[in-house]
Each structure stands twice: as C-alpha cells, then as structure tokens.
C-alpha cells in the first residue's frame, strides 16, 4: 500500500489562496486506509475550504485513483462540477494526482505527501519493507530485505555502526543484517552469506518504470 499523509494546512492554504472554486477528489484505496484521502477526509477538507471562504463544486472518491481509465470515467461523470471549478484538489498519492492531471486540462492540486510503499503493522502504523528495486534478493536473505530495511541498503553484511543488533541511524530500529543473520541461523542455511554479493543493477529500477504484461503462451 502507498502510505500518504496530508500536507500541512498552511501549505495548502497558500496554494488555494488565489483561487475560489474547488472540485475535491479522494481515493478509495490506500489513501482511505491511511485516513488521508477517504470519504471522511474529503468531507473535512470541504468544511475547511468553506471556512476559508471558498466554494466546493462537488467531490468524488475514486475507487482506485491510480487507475487511469477509472479516473477518467469518474471525472466525466462529474463533468459540470469539474468544469465549474478553478482547480481539482486531490487527496491521493502522487500516482493518483497524476491520474487526475493526465485526464484534465484543469489545474490540479495535490493535498498529500506520498511517503513509501508500506506494510500495515497495526491501524495507523506502517513500515517500509520493499522499495521496488526490480531485483529481489529476499530468497537469500530469509525474507528480510536489506535493500530497504538496512538504512544504507548494504548487500554484504552490517556496517560498523551496528550496536546490540540495532541500526546506527536509530537505536529503536533493528539492524536488518542482524535480523537476516539470526533468521538464517535458525533455518540452518547460509543464504546470502555464502557469496559476495556484487554491485546491484540499478538499471532494473530505471525511472520512469514501465511494465507490459507479456503473453506467455502457456
């Protein structure tokens, strides 16, 4: 899930200040779970804008704002409200904001900051486990990703800053390599420690990413 959080209201206030009418867009997927862009947050933002003396021409929570055709369809359903607005204010991740901006000529304002691809630990608490690097090493690292969960993304073991199994950047954080070591030992296999891991192919996560499902002809 994409973890997102609302931008500070002061920042949003400065952007909306010269404008008057807004169409609001939320996202029914990640931003709803993160409580940053669901029905409730869209409604709160609407109330806030009205308090600021602004008008809201309408709103929609798109099922998944990262879905380009669905976003286009939802905007067409609200065509007149969209047309009346000076700008579309979007409470979705950066992907969602760009789905909207690709489907309209109108000014689009993003109301959230996207933070990371996160796992839900418990309600409201998220952890980054995967950084979508394009070259997965998890099968050798006992299912713990050093690219993401080691602060330096080291591939051949811990740095000199590890202390008592904790990370040098934050003593609350486990050292990824300590976790990998303990887990592999428990599973009685050498895993990644059996080899010197060569430099990573960052070309595998070259931006902007593109992916086309291939017909495997199975």
């Amino acid at each position: 899930m994409i973890i997102s959080e609302r931008k500070p209201l002061d920042e949003i206030r400065k952007i909306v200040e010269p404008l008057q009418r807004f169409f609001l867009i939320g996202c029914g997927a990640c931003a709803t779970v993160c409580k940053s862009g669901g029905e409730e947050e869209v409604f709160q933002l609407q109330e806030w804008l009205i308090d600021q003396g602004k008008e809201v021409t309408g709103s929609v929570v798109i099922d998944e704002a990262c879905h380009l055709p669905r976003t286009g369809r939802d905007l067409r359903h609200h065509k007149s409200a969209v047309q009346e607005a000076d700008a579309l204010l979007v409470l979705a991740c950066g992907g969602g904001v760009q789905s909207v901006s690709s489907q309209t000529e109108k000014m689009v304002i993003g109301g959230l900051n996207s933070v990371f691809l996160g796992n839900v630990k418990r309600f409201g608490q998220y952890e980054e486990k995967c950084s979508l690097c394009g070259e997965c090493i998890l099968n050798e690292t006992a299912g713990i990703c050093p690219v993401t969960t080691c602060a330096k993304g080291l591939l051949n073991g811990p740095c000199g800053g590890m202390e008592d199994g904790r990370c040098e950047i934050d003593s609350e954080l486990d050292c990824a390599w300590h976790l990998i070591y303990e887990r592999l030992k428990q599973q009685n296999r050498p895993g990644v420690f059996a080899r010197r891991v060569p430099a990573k192919a960052w070309s595998k996560s070259c931006k902007p990413g593109r992916h086309q499902l291939k017909n495997t002809g199975r």
Partner: protein, 285 residues
C-alpha cells in the same frame, strides 16, 4: 610500493595517524599539523568524516603527497556512485596516492547535511572488488583501462562488535575482495581484541588497532552515546572519572592499548584529535 605496504609486509610495527580536511579552502593549518606528526608512517585523510561536508579528501591527500607526506586516502560509499568512485580512484592513482581505506561511511543523517541523498550505490565489499578490478586494468563493466593504477587497499572493522560471527563473515569477504590491511574502530577492550586477532590468524592480513585518545570521562560518555560503533567500557570511564588528571590518564590508557597492540597486532592507528604533540607519549614503551 608505499612505506605503509612495505613496513606491514616486512612485519615492522607500523603507526598511522589521521587528519581531517578543513571546512573551507584554508589548508595551511592541516598541512602543518600533518608535517608535525613524527614517527608516523602514513596519515589518513578523512572523507567528509561523520557525514560533515569538508574539502575533498583526495585534494588534501594530494597536497600532502606533494609535500612528501605519505597518506592513506579514506573513501566512503556515502557520497559517490560507482562512476564517481572509479574516476576518483583513477585520479588518486594519477596523483601518486596508493594507500586507501575503503569504507561504507556514516549515514548522512548524522552530519551537517541531513537532507543529502545518501548514495551507497556500492557497499565496502563491492568497493574493494571494484578497486581490485581497477588494479587488474579493468573498470566495473570490464572495459580496459589506459594506464592501470596500483593501490594498497585497506578496510575497516569493529572487532569487538556482536555477534562476532556476523562481523567476521564480512571481514572474510573483505579479504577475499582484496583488503590488504585492516584498521579497527577505536578499541579499549583487550579480551575483545584478542578474540579478533585469533580469528584473524588464518587470514594473514595485518591489523592496525584504532586508538582514540580520551581527554575526559565526559568525552567517553559522549562517544558511548553518540558515536556509532565506539564503546568505552565502564572500567575505562571509571578510571577517567577518578583520575586527578584525566587527560594524563587518557594518555596512559592509549599507551596500554599500544602495548597490547605491540603483542598482538601489526601496528596502531592513532586518533589524537588535535593532540598530535602527545603521540610520542602514547608510543613510549
């Protein structure tokens, strides 16, 4: 062949020290400081140490080299990707620098540019591999070099960190990747050093013990609380606390670690933080 390589190869007890480039272009003071170091084989030049932006380590190492001072160029993976690292190492070789200390580097979050993007395109093992490749006349993608550099590459280790097996697997990898010597994190623990040196025996790679001159108990507490990988044991802190002259006690503690190193290791790396004039006292038998 550098003096450092020669002495370590000949089994002569070797002493190195370190200087930090200035924040700015005024290099005279640090050049003077390096020139005043006596009884030292080579001077480490730190690379944006503690993730604080300073003048280029390569530039200062070159200036010292021009004045006849042998250096150990520290190179970290924090600020440069593999292309920049390779071109800097080729540049270092062209400027006459042979000794390298190849490190991961402290995370940018610790330093004065916490918003900088931490690079870590390579880790220290891969940096050693890359250096070995350059020495074999090839860049990282296998293209031949016009002019092959020669280096004496070293690596760092925290020999008293736990779990030892996890730490030591990386030491082994570093040796396989071409590390010719090790420089340790600051050590105050004789038993820990002994365990490490015993494990090092089959690897046949010289070790310089890191020795940090403690000035006070306050400094020891600061190191324990804020510097990753440095641990000053309670017994040492207690000695500094009860000493009438804590600085003199700090020198005595450093001298003891030099003594253990003379028994067990191949040399010492002194971190005296501006008290280079006390090096003769630290090295006194």
């Amino acid at each position: 062949m550098s003096q450092l390589e020669k002495k370590l190869s000949d089994g002569v007890f070797t002493v190195t020290a370190e200087v930090a480039p200035p924040k700015g272009t005024s290099v005279d003071a640090v050049v003077d400081q390096a020139e005043r170091l006596c009884g030292i084989t080579a001077v480490n030049v730190t690379d944006n140490q503690g993730a604080n932006m300073r003048l280029s380590a390569l530039a200062l190492a070159s200036l010292l080299h021009q004045r006849g001072i042998e250096t150990v160029l520290q190179v970290t993976c924090r600020d440069r990707n593999r292309m920049a690292l390779q071109s800097d190492l080729l540049g270092a070789a062209a400027l006459g620098i042979e000794n390298l200390l190849l490190l991961s580097g402290d995370h940018s979050r610790f330093g004065d540019h916490p918003d900088a993007k931490p690079v870590f395109d390579l880790d220290s093992v891969q940096l050693l591999d890359m250096t070995a490749g350059l020495m074999a006349g090839m860049d990282m993608v296998g293209k031949p070099l016009d002019g092959t550099p020669y280096f004496f590459p070293g690596a760092a280790v925290n020999p008293v960190a736990e779990p030892f097996e996890l730490i030591f697997q990386k030491v082994r990898k570093k040796v396989e990747s071409g590390a010719r010597f090790f420089q340790t994190q600051a050590i105050f623990d004789r038993v820990g050093l002994e365990r490490f040196m015993n494990a090092m025996l089959p690897l046949n790679t010289p070790v310089l013990t890191g020795i940090l001159l403690l000035r006070s108990a306050k400094m020891a507490h600061f190191l324990n609380d804020h510097i990753p990988g440095v641990h000053v044991p309670e017994s040492v802190v207690a000695r500094l606390e009860s000493a009438a002259d804590p600085f003199a006690e700090g020198i005595a503690i450093a001298r003891e670690v030099v003594g253990w190193s003379r028994e067990m290791c191949q040399g010492v790396h002194l971190m005296t933080l501006g008290h280079e004039d006390r090096i003769p006292d630290i090295l006194a038998d």
